[in-house]
């Protein structure tokens, strides 16, 4: 079966000389809920930027459902929806337009787009806020708009870069439920988060990236057979276990 995402020896060096991704290879099965973990600056967001076309990979290959994300970027982009970590929108535009424009870029016809935008605006409780400029919305509402925008093209691969950072418990729970629904319906999801609880609850496969390399990956169950569970495995994989054990012992 063609993987939903296949990254082979991805390397990204920024113009400044910073090596953001040293050598990342990973495979996401279709229909998987894939957790992509790592400390700040480990290379998670840069990897996502390379997958989605926000930045150029220096070397390596990325295939989305078998489509080369660089050579055949148009077809590859059609399959992906992205909710980035940072708010990358026109702050003066309103919520409805932000979602609608993205549907337009994806070539969705007006009627189809309206139906989809209406559904997402309602699904994310944005109806009373749909006409407000983005900059006037609270942090949680802004996050909802970004999530709705990521889903407007009904992507086969949904990439969520810290989607619940800074949002209230209610939205987090609601989003978890919705993501599980989408995943049940066949959407492959790649999720990055600093909340291990979120990864534990949602993901079936986990990869840990550290210093631009995948240091551990496998089915979620593998991480839970070890004492200390995911947290312990995460600290061990990122080389922080000894440090934390020493702190705990004091």
């Amino acid at each position: 079966m063609t993987p939903a995402l296949e990254i082979s020896h991805l390397r990204k060096v920024y113009k400044s000389g910073t090596v953001a991704v040293e050598d990342v290879s990973l495979t996401v099965r279709p229909g998987d809920f894939f957790g992509f973990l790592g400390p700040n600056g480990a290379g998670k967001s840069t990897t996502i930027h390379c997958i989605t076309g926000i930045t150029n990979p220096t070397s390596g290959t990325i295939r989305i459902f078998g489509v080369d994300a660089v050579a055949d970027y148009r077809n590859a982009r059609k399959l992906v929806g992205l909710s980035p970590q940072e708010f990358n929108v026109d702050p003066f535009a309103n919520a409805r337009n932000i979602v609608d424009w993205m549907g337009g870029y994806f070539g969705m016809r007006a009627a189809e787009r309206k139906k989809r935008v209406d559904m997402l605006i309602e699904r994310f409780d944005l109806v009373p806020h749909a006409s407000k400029p983005f900059r006037e919305l609270s942090g949680g509402l802004k996050r909802r708009v970004i999530l709705a925008r990521a889903m407007v093209n009904d992507p086969k691969l949904l990439i969520l870069d810290e989607p619940t950072a800074g949002v209230d418990v209610e939205l987090r729970m609601d989003l978890w439920r919705y993501l599980q629904e989408l995943n049940r319906d066949g959407t492959t999801i790649l999720l990055t988060s600093h909340y291990l609880e979120e990864i534990e609850r949602l993901c079936r496969t986990i990869a840990i990236v550290h210093n631009g390399r995948i240091v551990r990956d496998g089915p979620k169950e593998e991480f839970f057979t070890e004492p200390g569970g995911l947290e312990r495995a995460y600290l061990a994989a990122t080389g922080k276990a000894a440090e934390h054990t020493a702190v705990a012992a004091r």
Partner: protein, 255 residues
């Protein structure tokens, strides 16, 4: 590969909505500037000049004023659109979408042309009010408006991709566009220049743009049309190719 017309139209309508938020900058400012030029050079100065090439001074100056505003509108539109989208990171919405690089550029240039055409029409309407508008050839007029807009749209995109600060956006305007447009024959014919300075006019691309538009409006020509047309088409093609290449390698966009 089919053209993503809906994506292209979305780029255009989005930018129209953005421009609607800044009507003074987008619409009123160039019209007031043109009105002042027409008033000062058409009446105050023009009142002391009998005629140039058989035309009232105001009629002679008007094509140059239109061209200066087309150049400014095109350059400003391209730089502000791309630079602000880079600054806000909202350009990532375009980068993650299934638009080809050519479509991304075409979307930006379409708006540039649209804004230039509307600016030109606005100034022409002011000119009509002063009885100074002639139209020798509509096809030529459209050629000059569209191709010059494309040239300065492409230049604007290059500058917007290169700029790291707001101030850098103005470098080309201050040191290149304004001086060359001022000495490009807006206010005078080449024959009015001293002999030793005429090479400056013939080596200045703005002279051909202004001369071309003046020919389209008045039928008054100071250089062979083919030279101006060839230069303009070649410049648009070269700059368009450079912009396409920059998008393809992601310079200033996906570094």
């Amino acid at each position: 590969m089919t053209i993503n017309w809906i994506g292209l139209w979305t780029m255009i309508r989005r930018e129209i909505q953005r421009l609607a938020r800044v009507p003074i900058q987008a619409v009123v400012a160039p019209l007031i500037s043109a009105l002042l030029f027409i008033f000062i050079f058409g009446f105050v100065v023009g009142g002391r000049i009998s005629s140039i090439g058989g035309y009232r001074y105001l009629e002679f100056v008007l094509p140059g004023v239109v061209m200066m505003n087309i150049v400014n509108a095109a350059f400003l539109q391209a730089t502000s659109q791309i630079y602000f989208q880079r600054f806000q990171k909202s350009i990532e919405e375009i980068l993650v979408s299934p638009l080809s690089y050519v479509e991304m550029i075409a979307g930006t240039i379409s708006i540039v042309i649209l804004r230039s055409v509307f600016t030109a029409i606005g100034i022409m309407l002011i000119g009509v009010a002063f009885g100074a508008v002639h139209m020798h050839s509509v096809a030529e007029f459209l050629f000059w408006v569209i191709f010059v807009s494309m040239i300065f749209g492409f230049l604007g995109i290059i500058v917007a991709l290169w700029a790291k600060t707001f101030e850098q956006l103005n470098v080309l305007v201050v040191f290149f566009i304004t001086p060359l447009s001022m000495v490009g024959g807006v206010f005078n014919t080449v024959a009015m220049l001293p002999g030793w300075l005429r090479w400056l006019a013939y080596g200045n691309p703005f002279f051909y743009f202004i001369n071309g538009l003046r020919h389209a409006m008045l039928g008054f020509n100071e250089a062979p049309t083919t030279i101006g047309v060839t230069l303009t088409v070649a410049l648009a093609a070269v700059l368009g190719t450079i912009v396409w290449r920059l998008y393809a390698i992601g310079w200033g966009l996906r570094e």
